[in-house]
Symmetry: C2
Subunit: 205 residues, 2 copies
Amino acid sequence: MPKIVDHEERRRELAEALWRVIAHSGPQAVSIRTVAAEAGLSAGALRHYFQTREELLVFAMDLSEERVVGRMREQSLSMAPEDSMVERTAGFAEHMLPLDPTRSAEFRVWEAAGHLGDLDPRLEERWIRQRGLYRRLVGGLGGLPPLEDPESEHPDPWLETWAAFLHTFVDGLALQMMVNPAQVPPETGRARLRSFLAHVESTRK
Amino acid sequence: MPKIVDHEERRRELAEALWRVIAHSGPQAVSIRTVAAEAGLSAGALRHYFQTREELLVFAMDLSEERVVGRMREQSLSMAPEDSMVERTAGFAEHMLPLDPTRSAEFRVWEAAGHLGDLDPRLEERWIRQRGLYRRLVGGLGGLPPLEDPESEHPDPWLETWAAFLHTFVDGLALQMMVNPAQVPPETGRARLRSFLAHVESTRK
């Protein structure tokens, strides 16, 4: 199946080129022209894969999600058993905070893709997955057994309320860290996250 | 003093033109050229007031803050005495949420100006004023006497913690309402804000 292999290989190369454009110049620099140039292709050849700038941004968003989920999976395999539940939860939530250049680039993609609105065919799906993640984190903090279906509403109103609160809080913290790094440097962001998670945990006891 | 009157009048006209560009096309459309055209001036004449696009965005941010503060002042004069403290506080905090086209445009300006970083000479000042506002809101919810100096750190750790949490929460809520209006429509945003404020109040009792 050489065709399929070629296609996957090419897609991977394009993903890397796209990510280099974003890391160097931000998502506003993403265009058919800039990504084609970075990948060493003609704009026409790139259009074989992506018709519009919006499709490139949706692809960037997909990649960004894959990277976050991949890092979380790695982390869940290597967690220190002596860590408190707040510390473990913070470790997961920190993948959504712009604590280093990789995560800052991911935030900027998320923000750029956020403005696509209905042009992102997976906007609703992404939201549901995010909320599912926060339900899992809050469930862990509350000592609940692992959720069978975290992407659906849970009967426990405590879990629903705090999953929504934590989701909102982490998004706001990420935004503040991006926009006001002097006021919310990484250590402040990390400390505020832990302080909020400790509060969430305390509301269950 | 005809010169000064002219200058103030012209500044007001420019502010209105700038705001029309933002309301119609978003802050990314702001440029010396587009604002000059909207104001019926040449780019050269506009440069008499603003040298760069960044200066225009800083001006937009100043205007946006003035508008928010003006609305809050009006509101404080017309508050219903029978409203609960959560309801009053929500009324103030809602000026920061994109609940209508005016506030959505303000959010977009805030977001665009946020990326100016050090090009905004008043970035730190704005942050301090914002935090001062949240200290006042949380102080009210906690039944504290009016704060003498809300823009400085308060000795009560409860107030400091919850002012930071509420500031983070409202920023996150505004972001989610902008990016995911289908998941966080106005009524959901308003309800989640009240639910969080009621929780803040309950932590003091």
